[in-house]
């Protein structure tokens, strides 16, 4: 069924109105800026707006309207779109990841075009995977989970589209801006000021949609997964707004100054940066874990009490921990001590979540053995435990004096993002795609098994080589000989990294190969869509018409 056919005529008309508004906004941006990155971004928005006008306008009278019975079904069309975008961004983001990994091994291979320089490609990787891949996965699954666990249809049919399309425009602006050399120079918050404002509008729409849907729930209680998703939505909004407060140099260009400066700016940035890890890369994905793992394993959540402990522990402790990114800097010592101690206490609620997930598999271990999809989720929980243990360890000041600035940090990052974030996303995708496209199973069930082993091997090769790299690097930097002179010159420590960088590129390549296989498998599944209804989807409690 065409996505437009899921909208009523009046929804299509409102949609056309919004699309025209987007095109006008894009035109205004382009006209005001005249040239430069902002003009190009305005042009992108205008083209997108016009394309949406045509799609919706063409459908206005042609496609039949959905019947009133739609209100007794879940609204999954935008979720399908979100899953498709997740897969596209996965291939782009991880592809660029392998590219920058290769550049670190072979920097001479940088082509002569500006946009291929390491400094521009690196944020394309980080934003591409975190926001493009992770963000789309979070939004799509949250909309799925909130409906199932509330037994309520999404509060309305247009705002999920606004959220997903608008969010992807943000990602596109961000990534294309970096390639053209525009950045706010704040890690994970590089996008230009107008993109940031745009994201605020999108995010508020998302928050409203989520809350309104929860309010319509037919279940007496709100399931844990929804607490996590809600924490993700709410806190990301706060972090994003505060860290991105900036004054544009001109209203007609992409450059801006942050309003914070000096050590305050550093502290705000890493309060943001660490809680981006906490609420973007952790809380939302824990929501995913709490839904898809018990459903796939067909087991009850092991402990309701642990869920509560870990939720409030994570929400409370993470907020204090950001200063562990600034150990031994101009940041006052006392702030570092607080960051360190709260990071250590954070370990307990983190492990409570990982432990709860793994204990939930009691009684389903035979399924873990046989079902690669469940195995993805199991491995995700294990890596979640590993990377949080590692994180709390790295946050201890003397340990950090060894690890900071080394590739150990990057190894920690990818044990979290590959082993935890990407694995749980793949598990969720393989659970969802057959359901959403009305099939019993994926088109190529064997390929899921292949993907699993490629992903595990890729993660292990990546992470183990960078642990070695980081520890080697850290030790070489701090070794003095008996005469009080450094034992190694810096360039020797760079040369020592080469074999590890080669291995990392290989591990990343394996991981990317798995992701591409996943995308192709999903495409094949989507093309062979059936009309099977998911038996697990209980009938909705019908809501009064909107």
């Amino acid at each position: 069924m065409k996505a437009t056919a899921t909208l009523t005529k009046s929804e299509r008309q409102t949609g056309i109105g919004l699309a025209i508004a987007l095109a006008v906004m894009g035109f205004a941006m382009a006209a005001a800026a005249r040239h430069g990155v902002m003009a190009i971004h305005g042009g992108m928005a205008m083209v997108l707006g016009l394309a949406l006008v045509f799609v919706l306008g063409g459908a206005l009278y042609d496609h039949p309207e959905p019947g009133a019975d739609r209100l007794s079904r879940y609204y999954d069309a935008p979720i399908r779109f979100g899953i498709a975008m997740t897969l596209i961004w996965a291939v782009i983001g991880m592809g660029v990841g392998v590219w920058v990994a290769a550049l670190m091994y072979w920097p001479e291979a940088t082509p002569l075009w500006d946009w291929t320089s390491y400094g521009r490609l690196r944020p394309v990787h980080t934003s591409g995977v975190i926001f493009g891949f992770g963000g789309n996965a979070l939004i799509a699954t949250s909309l799925y989970v909130v409906q199932r666990t509330s037994r309520a249809r999404l509060a309305d049919a247009l705002s999920p589209w606004v959220v997903l399309i608008g969010y992807n425009l943000f990602c596109l602006w961000a990534v294309s801006g970096y390639l053209m050399g525009v950045t706010q120079s704040k890690e994970y918050a590089e996008a230009p000021w107008y993109a940031d404002i745009w994201l605020v509008a999108i995010w508020l729409t998302y928050f409203a949609l989520y809350i309104r849907t929860l309010a319509r729930r037919a279940e007496p209680h709100i399931y844990v997964a929804n607490w996590y998703y809600l924490a993700f939505i709410l806190v990301v909004a706060i972090l994003h707004i505060i860290n991105n407060l900036a004054l544009p140099v001109r209203w007609t260009s992409a450059e801006s100054f942050p309003i914070w400066s000096g050590v305050q700016d550093a502290m705000i940035q890493w309060w943001y940066g660490h809680n981006a890890v906490a609420f973007f890369l952790t809380a939302g994905f824990l929501g995913m874990l709490y839904y898809f793992l018990p459903v796939r394993a067909q087991r009850p959540i092991w402990s309701y009490r642990l869920s509560i402990l870990s939720f409030w522990g994570i929400v409370f402790f993470y907020m204090w921990a950001g200063s562990h990114h600034l150990h031994y800097t101009a940041l006052p010592y006392w702030v570092q001590t607080l960051g360190m101690t709260f990071s250590v206490m954070l370990l307990v609620p983190s492990w409570a979540s990982a432990g709860n997930a793994i204990a939930t598999l009691n009684g389903a271990w035979h399924k873990v053995r046989d079902d690669a999809v469940l195995r993805f989720m199991f491995v995700a929980a294990v890596f979640y435990g590993l990377s949080t243990f590692e994180g709390s360890f790295l946050a201890i000041r003397p340990v950090n004096s060894l690890s900071h600035y080394t590739d150990w940090t990057v190894g920690h990052v990818h044990s979290g993002t590959l082993g935890w974030v990407a694995m749980i996303v793949f598990g969720a995708i393989y659970s969802l795609v057959p359901k959403l496209w009305g099939r019993e199973n994926m088109a190529w069930p064997r390929a899921v098994e292949w993907h699993f082993w490629l992903a595990v091997a890729g993660t292990l090769v990546y992470v183990v080589s960078l642990w070695n790299a980081g520890i080697t690097q850290g030790l070489m930097w701090r070794t003095y000989d008996a005469n009080g002179a450094l034992s190694y010159s810096f360039i020797e420590t760079v040369e020592a990294m080469l074999p590890y960088y080669a291995l990392r590129t290989l591990g990343g390549g394996l991981f990317l190969a798995g992701a591409i296989l996943c995308a192709l498998n999903c495409r094949a599944t989507m093309r062979a869509a059936g009309s099977r209804e998911d038996a697990a989807d209980r009938p909705l409690a019908v809501q009064p018409a909107e």
Partner: protein
């Protein structure tokens, strides 16, 4: 909330019992979200113990270290640590250790230092890393140089291979932002006829082979325009930073095309001044190290 177990969600309305999970033997909480249920597992003791341990760790850290803000001040901690002081202390300790041998380089007599084998055994490995951190990116880890950057590991010098002179080069640089910098400028001969530049370039390119034709018109051009800086026969060594054109060593290259470019555009390579960045002893240490690079290279090839 009622305390009657029979009224709780999921409870059997007659007995008040809730469904028991056959695998773990625990009751469920009675909640059910689209098939997801939860067990009413008692709180695991280990989680509480772990939480208590991490809290104790934190409290001890707060007592010992600077930790909580108190308005304009903060709690100093029993250990009274200050990260700036700690860093300076450690730096000082390392400096003291180094002083044992480094002081010999404050105002050195290079000739007597170089024969002090014990001192050299301490100093040269340190010099190698100092060189690696500050010089290798331009001159190469082994001093082999590269296009635009002269080799330091050969016996051919722009200025001099004498450690005193090298120390001057290091201190003040060449064409650097330093009032006493050495000046070495190869002027552009763009006013010269293109044909003359081409023939001169060919002539200069043939100098290192020893087969250059000193009776050719190009040789005349050379004597007229170039000899003042590069020497009568292009042998260099006049102490103006103009390299010898007869040895095989080159900075930019001595093929006809590169020489033609050198003539057309001129050259003005920059060697940074290190006086503000490295200590006097370190500069002297490096000067001695660099002066010995060519010897160590010869030793190695022998």
């Amino acid at each position: 909330m009622t305390t009657d177990p029979r009224a709780l969600p999921g409870a059997d309305p007659h007995t008040g019992n809730r469904e028991v999970d056959p695998v773990t033997g625990y009751e469920t909480t009675g909640h059910d979200w689209g098939g997801i249920r939860e067990l009413n597992t008692p709180f695991p003791r280990i989680a509480l113990i772990a939480l208590a341990l991490t809290v104790i760790y934190s409290v001890v850290a707060w007592i010992l270290l600077p930790a909580w803000p108190t308005g304009r001040d903060y709690t100093r901690g029993l250990l009274g640590l200050d990260q700036g002081e700690v860093a300076m202390d450690r730096l000082q300790a390392i400096k003291t250790g180094r002083a044992v041998w480094l002081t010999h380089f404050e105002a050195p007599d290079f000739a007597s230092l170089a024969v002090n084998r014990g001192l050299m055994a301490l100093a040269m490995p340190a010099a190698r890393r100092l060189y690696g951190d500050n010089c290798a990116l331009c001159h190469g880890s082994d001093g082999a140089g590269g296009p635009g950057f002269p080799a330091l590991a050969d016996a051919d010098w722009l200025w001099s291979g004498d450690p005193e002179e090298i120390a001057v080069t290091l201190r003040h640089g060449i064409n650097a932002e330093d009032p006493d910098t050495r000046i070495a400028e190869m002027p552009a001969f763009d006013w010269m006829d293109r044909v003359d530049r081409l023939s001169l370039a060919g002539f200069v390119a043939s100098l290192p082979t020893g087969k250059a034709d000193w009776d050719s018109p190009a040789a005349g051009l050379f004597t007229q325009n170039c000899a003042a800086c590069h020497g009568e026969k292009g042998q260099g060594g006049l102490g103006v930073g103009a390299p010898s054109l007869t040895d095989g060593a080159t900075i930019y290259g001595q093929d006809p095309q590169t020489v033609y470019n050198t003539l057309t555009l001129g050259r003005r390579g920059v060697m940074p001044a290190w006086a503000g960045r490295l200590g006097e002893a370190e500069i002297n240490l490096l000067a001695l190290y660099v002066s010995r690079l060519s010897e160590t290279k010869e030793e190695r090839t022998q």
